[in-house]
């Protein structure tokens, strides 16, 4: 089941991507015409004001409204007709337990940042979208800016939404799994004849492509 959110104009204000959302994407070297970003963990505020969305939520989630809802599954953030953009990532240091992150610092104590620009003309009538979220690879805080005149869309399976209470009550089940065990199982189940060790070898890109393919089917 698919549900499409339009994030244009004030549409973004319904969403909270940081700190819970995790993005996975292959960073394009050149400015892409279009870009799809996998996102797990976007939070939608006041879903009760969206009657159509409510129709598709699970009964358990509907019963808990009014409450923000958390996307416990992959959504696809879709950009079209990209005019320019840039991305900055501040990597987090290695962390065994997947909690309480810290930025990687250089020897002078400054936060390390990685950035890339997709140049293009600055057009006053073309809106710029800023997405702040955790990037899976390289693991860190990402600020992704994209200028496009086209609507930005987030496509989700509305049955993936859970309440904040469900999320905090059972994070192992609903939150993004940094150990990737659950994601690996999802990818394995959607790749015919997929072998776990092969997936592990090409994990990030393979998973992104497989899930995108599944979402776009």
């Amino acid at each position: 089941m698919r549900y499409t959110f339009d994030l244009s104009g004030s549409g973004m204000q319904r969403f909270e991507f940081f700190p819970e959302a995790t993005a996975a994407l292959k960073m394009p070297a050149e400015r892409p015409k279009a870009l799809s970003v996998l996102v797990w963990g976007a939070v939608v505020h006041e879903p009760e004001n969206d009657a159509e969305l409510c129709n598709y939520l699970t009964a358990e989630v509907r019963a808990a409204l009014p409450s923000p809802v958390y996307l416990s599954g992959w959504g696809v953030l879709d950009f079209r007709d990209i005019r320019r953009g840039d991305v900055t990532v501040s990597p987090y240091g290695p962390n065994l337990l997947g909690k309480d992150f810290e930025f990687l610092k250089d020897r002078d104590g400054n936060t390390i940042t990685l950035s890339h620009t997709w140049p293009g003309p600055v057009e006053d009538d073309v809106p710029e979208y800023l997405f702040s979220m955790v990037l899976e690879q390289p693991f860190g805080f990402m600020a992704l800016k994209i200028a496009t005149p086209e609507p930005v869309r987030l496509v989700v399976d509305p049955r993936d939404f859970v309440t904040e209470e469900q999320l905090t009550g059972n994070p192992d089940r609903y939150a993004y799994d940094f150990a990737r065990v659950r994601q690996l199982q999802v990818a394995e189940s959607v790749v015919p004849g997929g072998e776990r060790h092969r997936l592990a070898a090409v994990l990030t890109q393979q998973t992104i492509e497989v899930v995108l393919e599944q979402k776009n089917a």
Partner: protein
């Protein structure tokens, strides 16, 4: 002012100073400097240098001037008689609840500001819930005796100043623990007390 992470979560960490409570059962642990001119409400772990930081993470630095009051509650009783600030800074503040009312923070700030003092209300993105509230409820803020200084256009925000953009930032996630982020793209609105 981090609603949702109340004082009791710190029970078990023993700090006799920090465990003191006033007659309203409010935890207080701060050292007010009489020269304080800037108040940073909801500072968390990242106080603006040179400010009196309210709701600082109280175990982070016991020597930094700090003040912890009940979330949303008045703070004037913790200040010296008649102490008012020239500037109040609020960055990335997050209230809990399904329809949080950020007007209470403006009201709280206005209660300890001099006439002509400014509120800098900033967030790491214009989509932040607090910023969306601030630009969407300007008539309510005006009713608190405040005037929007910049940007003057209604419903708009502007790039934050370099001191705000340089401020370290972190948030406590119920799932991920403490997660740092960047204010590099922060935006702000500035209001003045009439």
């Amino acid at each position: 002012m981090s609603v949702g992470w109340p004082y009791h979560q710190f029970n078990g960490r023993h700090d006799p100073d920090r465990d003191k409570k006033d007659t309203d059962n409010v935890a207080t642990y701060f050292s007010l400097q009489t020269g304080d001119r800037v108040l940073h409400i909801g500072a968390g772990d990242n106080p603006l240098p040179g400010s009196l930081a309210e709701d600082i993470e109280q175990y982070n630095n016991k020597n930094y001037p700090q003040l912890l009051a009940a979330p949303g509650g008045p703070i004037s009783q913790y200040l010296s008689q008649g102490h008012l600030f020239d500037k109040v800074v609020i960055v990335n503040i997050k209230l809990g609840g399904t329809k949080p009312d950020y007007g209470q923070i403006f009201e709280l700030a206005a209660s300890v500001m001099k006439s002509g003092a400014t509120i800098v209300w900033a967030a790491f993105t214009g989509y932040h819930q607090s910023m969306a509230w601030a630009i969407g409820h300007e008539p309510e803020i005006i009713n608190l005796g405040l005037t929007k200084l910049s940007p003057t256009a209604p419903g708009r925000y502007e790039d934050a100043t370099s001191d705000i953009r340089a401020l370290p930032a972190s948030v406590l996630s119920p799932v991920r623990g403490m997660v740092p982020f960047s204010n590099t793209n922060a935006v702000q609105v500035v209001w003045k007390k009439n």
